[in-house]
């Protein structure tokens, strides 16, 4: 069995096969300030009185928080009141929150082997822990609130075998952008992506979260890593004991891809699809001027990402033509960055540092682009109008490339600074 089949079989209490439909009771059901209000409304519309499993419900207002406007405030108010009324303890107010997909693993709310649904497409992030975690809609969540069940189709799996070690300033983000360019934006549609091979142990937990996070950008249902000594150590820090989990040797895959970490260059994904990746050395030749650099998000807002950005920005300054916005992914990440002096480095370089929020990634607030503006961003999507005006552009890259570009004023290779 593949990892996806193993976890789903365990939850179903029998061996499951790709293509079959299952009704299962997830361990965690997440929703945010965009998707929870719709789920709550549906719950009430149905006449729902009591949430079936309040201890499995997680509510994170992170997209338009700190409340951007009155409408956003009303959405969060609805979540807060629902949480109180239903005795939901896992509601995270600003000041104690983080971007959902940074926060949940950090707090140990999601763990290896769990079945997790989230009304947010990047719920696949937790695949890094070896959890079967996938994005669903608000109605799925409403169904979970009502009867504790969600429907699933058991996915086929694509195996990605990793070898080698990253070269200096090449990161997990570069690996996943390259992979999406190989698979295409629908190459893994309806399927799970599974990572294996000796290269896996070269990738830290933070790096694995970055990779699993973007499985959806190839259409993937989830992006699963095995549970190995690195995962076990991460979980142990949170007081969680888990066992190793690997796919069976005779597991069947619909496609296999091999990647050598040592052959990768930093990548830049051009507008308007995350699959449009090019080597940064090629991109640099085009002297693509940028107006904004965003470093953060559920993809790259963890401490290692900030350390990498700081390594590049230390003792340098952001180009006068660029706004550089740095958003730690959670309060813990923020505090750790303060402790390590990273925030000093950012502010000295001329960056704006913010409390955790998804804000700019989806063109919500905290860095919306004007007509004709160009951004380099460590986020996950570069669709038309994603960060603001329909005639603005977003290029996706790692924190190292984004920081180097912020300094130069154009898309730049961090290895040549």
């Amino acid at each position: 069995m593949t990892l996806a089949e193993k976890i789903l079989s365990q939850k179903a209490g029998r061996k499951v096969e790709p293509g079959e439909f299952l009704l299962l009771e997830p361990d965690i059901a997440l929703a945010n300030d965009i998707t929870a209000p719709l789920a709550i409304k549906k719950f009430k519309e149905y006449g729902g009185k009591k949430v079936k499993y309040p201890d499995r419900v997680v509510l994170v207002p992170d997209h338009f928080t700190p409340n951007k406007d009155i409408k956003s405030a009303m959405q969060v108010k609805m979540m807060r009141e629902f949480a109180r009324e239903q005795g939901i303890e896992k509601f995270f107010e600003i000041g104690r929150m983080g971007i959902e997909h940074v926060l949940l693993p950090e707090e140990g709310i999601v763990k290896s082997g769990d079945l997790v649904v989230g009304a947010d497409s990047h719920t696949c992030t937790y695949g890094a822990l070896g959890a079967f975690a996938t994005g669903v809609g608000s109605t799925d969540i409403a169904g979970f609130y009502l009867i504790g069940k969600v429907w699933f189709r058991v996915p086929e799996s694509i195996k990605v075998t990793l070898r080698g070690k990253f070269k200096d300033l090449v990161t997990a983000k570069d690996l996943v952008l390259k992979l999406i360019s190989i698979l295409g934006v629908d190459g893994a549609n309806y399927k799970a992506i599974e990572f294996s091979g000796p290269g896996v142990k070269e990738i830290s937990m933070d790096g694995r979260f970055t990779i699993s996070n973007m499985a959806i950008e190839a259409g993937g249902k989830t992006g699963l890593f095995p549970v190995d000594e690195i995962t076990i150590a991460y979980e142990r820090e949170r007081g969680i004991e888990v066992e190793e989990m690997y796919p069976d040797e005779d597991a069947k895959y619909v496609r296999e891809v091999e990647m050598d970490l040592s052959e990768l260059e930093p990548q830049v994904a051009y507008p308007f699809l995350p699959s449009n990746a090019k080597d940064v050395s090629e991109a640099e030749k085009e002297r693509i001027k940028i107006d904004q650099a965003v470093i953060g998000s559920c993809t790259n807002g963890r401490i290692e990402d900030l350390r990498l950005a700081a390594q590049i920005l230390k003792g340098r300054t952001v180009s006068p033509d660029v706004r550089c916005i740095i958003i730690p992914g959670s309060q813990k990440v923020y505090k750790q960055a303060l402790k390590e002096g990273l925030i000093d480095i950012f502010i000295d370089a001329g960056c704006a540092v913010s409390t955790p929020t998804c804000g700019p990634c989806l063109g919500g607030h905290m860095g919306v682009l004007a007509e004709g503006e160009v951004a380099i961003s460590t986020t996950n999507r570069n669709f038309v109008g994603r960060m603001g005006h329909p005639n603005s552009k977003v290029f996706l890259a790692s924190p190292a490339v984004a920081a180097a570009s912020a300094i130069k004023g154009y898309i730049a290779d961090p290895r040549k600074l």
Binding site: I34, Q75, D120, G137, G143, K149, G219, R381, F383, R386
Partner: protein
């Protein structure tokens, strides 16, 4: 039986095309948000589309966000069915969950803007009344069709108290 006029779209129509982030102040008012549906893919689509019309698109329709608003506002705009070469996974489940029929058809390139279609969901038959051509598609799995027939999960649960049998 679904019958309607075709609006053609290309490949990779994203949830940002369907429900642009800049209108998210309207997210609590889906009727208003629906006035901007797909406007980044086709100017004034919301004004042009009529009740019962059918969207015909290329591959990977609805890629991106899990925002169910996307499927909902297409339905609110009056669209009766989406026919595409393929759908992004979360959009597909959202459409079923809110009672918007979605079918996968390989031959969408043979269908033109403004054609009149007739679709039999249960038997997997699509007739192009304009060209006279008839196509077969893999019918929607029974489990999902049951949900669709009751206009989505919440209505299904209201009526039956639990999910259909898998």
């Amino acid at each position: 039986m679904i019958r309607g006029r075709v609006w053609k779209f290309g490949d990779n129509i994203s949830t940002d095309h369907i429900a642009p982030g800049r209108y998210f102040h309207l997210r609590n008012n889906l009727e208003e948000l629906a006035k901007h549906v797909l406007e980044d893919a086709m100017e004034d689509f919301a004004k042009k589309v009529q009740k019962g019309d059918i969207i015909v698109a290329g591959k990977n329709f609805g890629l991106g966000s899990s925002r169910e608003h996307a499927a909902r506002i297409i339905k609110i705009a009056g669209v009766s069915c989406i026919v595409a070469k393929s759908f992004a996974r979360i959009f597909y489940r959202n459409a079923i969950n809110v009672g918007l029929p979605v079918i996968e058809l390989k031959e969408v390139d043979e269908i033109n803007q403004g054609d009149e279609l007739e679709i039999d969901l249960e038997n997997g038959v699509l007739k192009n009344l304009t060209t006279g051509k008839e196509y077969r598609f893999t019918p929607i799995p029974k489990f999902l069709l049951e949900i669709l027939k009751e206009d989505g999960i919440v209505n299904y649960l209201k009526k039956h108290g639990s999910f259909p049998k898998v």
